[in-house]
């Protein structure tokens, strides 16, 4: 067979050759043809890369879909999370939790936000001096009554310093809710409103935790009421060390540790 380079013939079924959908006779004939036809050889090489990528990807997908090889779940887990807990949207795509904003973004993390709210005077020392000067003038002027009338009340701290939606970890996809943090002086109140959580087993209950996802440090806040709502108090200093709220499913077995079965979570 003479070697040729022009594609002056119908392109043979090279994809069928790659996917194993040609007969033995066709495969041998294609081999003969490829030995002589540079165009088809280049065509096959072009297809080979994509073929390899597709095959490799399929194998990877099977590996990832296989039984996870991660560490075994603790024995006291009452819910064995599986891939069924993955939330799928209407287009069949897996729903990701919202991307947490980077610390140096325009969105302030809770800790920074709290510090700003707690120290409004420190942020503007000049404003403090102006206020002191005005006060002195008023006193010197004997305008005590005017002062009493016009003295501006101390601006209260913004009552709500953070809020976020709860999203399911191992809870059913329709489980949801919200958390909010409000401030009163140096006290922070965590308000939790969880919805559509299934009723735990007879010896189970839900517990609310503060979580630092970076270190996995957790602080128990208390048992979540069967109503799904609860309010928990904590100092601002402690609160500033956490950036997420976690709700776990616990066994009533006297073990105070987190069961490692998180059902809902919110990133503040």
């Amino acid at each position: 067979m003479t070697e040729h380079d022009d594609l002056d013939h119908e392109v043979p079924d090279l994809v069928g050759l790659l996917t194993g959908e040609v007969s033995r006779t066709e495969a041998l004939a294609l081999t003969d043809h490829l030995e002589a036809c540079r165009s088809c050889t280049r065509e096959l090489i072009d297809l080979l890369v994509a073929h390899a990528a597709l095959r490799s990807s399929n194998r990877v997908s099977q590996d990832l879909a296989a039984q996870p090889v991660r560490s075994a779940a603790p024995e006291n887990s009452m819910v064995q999370p599986t891939s069924e807990s993955v939330v799928i949207d209407q287009e069949g795509q897996e729903q990701l939790p919202p991307l947490r904003q980077p610390v140096d973004s325009t969105v302030q993390p809770l800790g920074q936000l709290e510090r700003d709210l707690e120290t409004p005077w420190r942020r503007s020392r000049s404003w403090r001096w102006v206020a002191a000067a005005v006060l002195a003038v008023l006193i010197v002027g004997g305008a005590a009554t005017v002062l009493a009338v016009h003295r501006a009340p101390v601006a209260p701290l913004q009552p709500r310093v953070a809020s976020a939606a709860l999203y399911p970890i191992t809870a059913p996809p329709n489980a949801s809710g919200s958390v909010a943090v409000s401030a009163e002086g140096s006290t922070r109140s965590l308000h939790v409103d969880a919805q559509h959580l299934p009723e735990p087993a007879a010896q189970g209950f839900y517990e609310v935790w503060l979580l630092d996802p970076t270190t996995n440090k957790m602080l128990p806040m208390g048992v979540l009421s069967p109503s799904g709502r609860g309010e928990y108090g904590v100092s601002a200093n402690i609160m500033s060390g956490y950036s997420a709220v976690d709700i776990s499913l616990q066994a009533n077995d006297g073990n105070p540790a987190h069961s490692r079965t998180s059902v809902l979570r919110a990133n503040l």
Binding site: G16, L47, A50, V60, Q93, E94, P97
Partner: protein, 180 residues
């Protein structure tokens, strides 16, 4: 995804463009999550996922646009998965998890997952018909005849769609010798 687009994501993240980070999260987040789910306890997967992308952002000055962003991303994911595995030392850790995560085997697996993520990003850029045909063939295991029956188009059209789609995928990869 073309090289230009891929470089653009890495390059834009390097330039502190948060939109690019969110774009990367949408494009590669599901693949990273699937990879982490293989090794990390379910209750920690989404936290580790967030940590991975947070590290992408914080380490953006180290992004080399000339190199595949996906491989760099999955390198970070692998390291954070190892961290999570170490934290789980009080649990029983199967030896397979260590082998698939740590050492040359772990690097190889992460690279394969990264390549797969690149491929899926490339598939998303094909026409709906080409993407569907290739997915039915390579992921659902259908023959060309079965695809023709399923989609109601002549088998010649199935062959043409597959060939064109594969050429485009190859072109996306070959153009830069690295990422899609």
């Amino acid at each position: 995804m073309t090289q230009a687009a891929s470089e653009s994501i890495g390059g834009r993240i390097a330039q502190a463009d948060q939109g690019a980070l969110e774009e990367a999260y949408r494009a590669y987040g599901p693949s990273v999550r699937a990879y982490l789910r293989r090794f990390v306890h379910p209750g920690e997967v989404d936290d580790v996922l967030q940590i991975v992308f947070l590290e992408v952002w914080r380490s953006r000055s180290r992004i080399d646009p000339a190199r595949p962003f996906e491989a760099w991303l999955f390198g970070i994911a692998r390291k954070r998965a190892i961290d999570a595995l170490r934290r789980s030392s009080h649990d029983v850790v199967p030896v397979e998890s260590v082998r698939e995560l740590v050492g040359p085997d772990g690097e190889d697996f992460a690279e394969r997952v990264a390549w797969s993520a690149e491929l899926h990003a490339g598939l998303a850029r094909l026409s709906t018909e080409q993407k569907e045909t290739l997915e039915l063939s390579y992921f659902a295991g259908l023959t060309q005849s079965e695809i023709a029956d399923r989609t109601g188009v002549p088998i010649g059209t199935v062959k043409a769609r597959m060939a064109r789609g594969m050429h485009r995928l190859t072109a996306m990869m070959a153009r830069q010798g690295a990422p899609l």
